[in-house]
């Protein structure tokens, strides 16, 4: 993505300051002529000439520059460092670099820029209050004349930056095997037969079987060649269903919850892909956007790209549509982790519909309470309102438990409850 793509905006752009300056000059001109006084005309003259002078002082075509940037923060600190090196047609000091702060990040200090060896060095310090995954578009780089009257887009600025912050517990998730979730959400065990893995059985040898696969003792006993068969080692399949429909919480809270959820989904997907599970992704807004079950490193990129594309739907789709569409992409019986805030009735009916279509459902529900608590209430009512909100939330999660095990995820920096549930699904009830 490029703010000024190749072949896009070619002409220079007059800034609003130019129009303001010309308006001031026009007023002075009219006043001078009406009062037959040449002094205001002398004052207006530089303002009339300056825009043309500014346009002529710059490059006559869009300059080019090379962008190099990276994210270097740790923990909740997000630091974006980068350089913009212009070609010889413009000075680095005349370039203006601007980066929009992603919605899920908070600016810690004003962005800084300086020129070193003909290169603009910029730095943005942000803070990630919650786990998040965000796509930072390339900075908008323009050449602007020193007086600030005209500007030209700079070509050649491309390359998105992905900033991710996961809950740290996801590193432990890799040790949780999906087949331990059989009791509550269940799992589908792969029966694919292949050349490696655990011993599965003995069959008649074929001409192209390598000698190492032949079972020599069994062949000696029966008098004809037999070969071993193996069951491919795989812990199971898992579908991650992200509910991206708007709720009654409002767009701002929904967007933040979606950002947190995307980070969790990507972290969970990475964890299961690491142990060779097949992972599928479904994002449901108005319609279903699915990434079919697969495994391997390329698949993690497919999932990441789908997550970066995911956004809050403007119109919520009906829950049944999601369940019907899910069956087109995924086999029934597969473990399905639903990421939903459970904030309204439609989220709960989604769980119910998906379960009725044959999927073994677990709900990981990011709680909106930490995001709602920033709202200021009257002092005497604050404690009561908080208690009522918490009770309402517990009630929502408890009702969701009627359809599927539901983990209330309130501490965004920790997925301990979810990990513990996957390890001991039969003995723990997390609500």
């Amino acid at each position: 993505m490029n703010a000024y793509p190749e072949g896009g905006s070619r002409a220079l752009v007059w800034r609003s300051r130019t129009l303001q300056l010309l308006a001031a000059a026009g007023i002075l001109l009219v006043a001078g002529v009406l009062l037959r006084d040449p002094i205001p005309l002398f004052l207006a003259l530089p303002f009339l000439v300056a825009p043309a002078a500014a346009a002529l002082s710059g490059p006559r075509a869009n300059p080019r520059a090379t962008l190099t940037w990276a994210e270097t923060g740790t923990g909740s600190e997000v630091r974006v460092l980068g350089t913009v090196r212009p070609d010889g047609s413009v000075r680095a000091g005349d370039l203006v670099v601007g980066i929009d702060t992603p919605a899920s990040l908070v600016e810690r200090s004003p962005p800084s820029q300086e020129v070193r060896d003909g290169t603009v060095v910029f730095q943005n310090d942000w803070w990630a209050p919650e786990p998040m995954i965000a796509l930072v578009p390339p900075p908008s780089v323009v050449w602007r004349d020193p007086v600030g009257l005209v500007e030209r887009p700079v070509d050649g600025i491309a390359g998105d930056l992905v900033v991710t912050r996961y809950p740290p517990e996801l590193l432990r998730l890799g040790s949780a095997r999906l087949d331990r979730t059989t009791v509550l959400p269940g799992e589908t065990r792969s029966r694919r037969i292949g050349s490696t893995g655990e011993f599965f059985g003995i069959r008649e040898a074929e001409p192209d079987d390598p000698p190492r696969r032949l079972n020599w003792p069994a062949s000696a006993r029966t008098g004809h060649l037999l070969a071993n068969e193996y069951a491919l080692e795989r812990t199971g399949d898992v579908v991650l269903l992200l509910d991206a429909r708007p709720t009654e919480l409002g767009t701002v809270v929904d967007e933040r919850l979606l950002s947190i959820t995307r980070a969790a989904v990507e972290g969970v997907a990475e964890s299961f892909l690491r142990i060779k599970s097949r992972v599928g992704l479904a994002v449901y807004g108005e319609f279903l956007d699915a990434v079919p079950l697969s495994t391997g490193r390329p698949h993690s990129f497919r999932i990441r790209n789908a997550l970066l594309r995911a956004h809050l739907a403007e119109t919520p789709g009906p829950s049944e549509r999601c369940a019907v569409a899910l069956r087109r992409y995924f086999p029934p019986g597969v473990t399905t982790i639903v990421f939903s805030s459970l904030a309204d009735e439609s989220a709960r009916t989604l769980v119910s519909h998906v379960r009725r279509r044959g999927f073994r459902v677990v709900v990981l529900s990011p709680s909106p309470l930490p995001l709602l608590s920033v709202r200021r209430l009257a002092r005497e009512d604050e404690e009561l309102a908080e208690r009522l909100t918490r009770l309402q939330r517990r009630s929502q999660v408890a009702r969701a438990w009627q359809d599927a095990p539901s983990i209330d995820w309130e501490e965004y920096r920790s997925l301990a409850g979810f990990v513990d549930f996957l390890r001991r699904p039969a003995t723990r009830r997390v609500a």
Partner: protein, 175 residues
């Protein structure tokens, strides 16, 4: 005050451009000869508001800091008696305002020097106009000539704003 905040204050003031604007404002303020020192008071007020806008937290306010200076210069130039020197100082005030705008505290330092090529042409135009006013016989005729020249300039500027691509130079296919 730390060294960093000191540098920030100096950058927001923009000393070279500000000195020239202040000189023009106060020269015109004293030249008006208005009673009760209204001229210098108006010059001080314009200068104070302009500087104050440079220190507001929002960038939008800092972008408009030049406006009070232009208002002050305009009002004082209208009140000043017609002399050749007043015309020169008014023109200098316009050029100085551009120089102060080039010293933008929100951009990389050195704007005053980098903006020389942009400011030189308006300064040259003021020089030519002032030279003409000095050499032409006194009367209202030069006002009419200047007004006609300015009208043509406005038409040209309006045309250029509508067609900014006239400043573009297409790259040769073989380059």
């Amino acid at each position: 005050m730390s060294a960093r905040s000191g540098v920030l204050v100096v950058r927001r003031l923009g000393p070279p451009g500000l000195a020239l604007v202040a000189f023009s404002l106060f020269w015109l303020g004293f030249a008006t000869g208005l009673p009760a020192h209204l001229g210098p008071i108006a010059a001080s007020a314009a200068l104070a508001v302009g500087i104050a806008l440079r220190f507001v937290p929002g960038r939008g306010g800092r972008e408009l800091a030049w406006m009070p200076l232009v208002v002050g210069l305009g009002a004082l130039s209208l009140a000043s008696p017609l002399t050749v020197l007043a015309e020169l100082v008014a023109g200098l005030g316009g050029v100085a305002t551009l120089a102060w705008m080039a010293d933008d505290p929100d951009r990389l330092p050195g704007g005053f020097v980098r903006g020389f090529s942009t400011i030189a042409l308006p300064a040259f135009a003021v020089g030519v106009a002032w030279g003409s006013a000095l050499l032409l016989p006194p009367g209202v005729a030069p006002v009419g000539v200047a007004a006609a020249v300015l009208a043509v300039t406005i038409v040209a500027v309006a045309f250029l704003i509508g067609r900014p691509d006239v400043f573009d130079r297409e790259e040769a296919a073989t380059s």
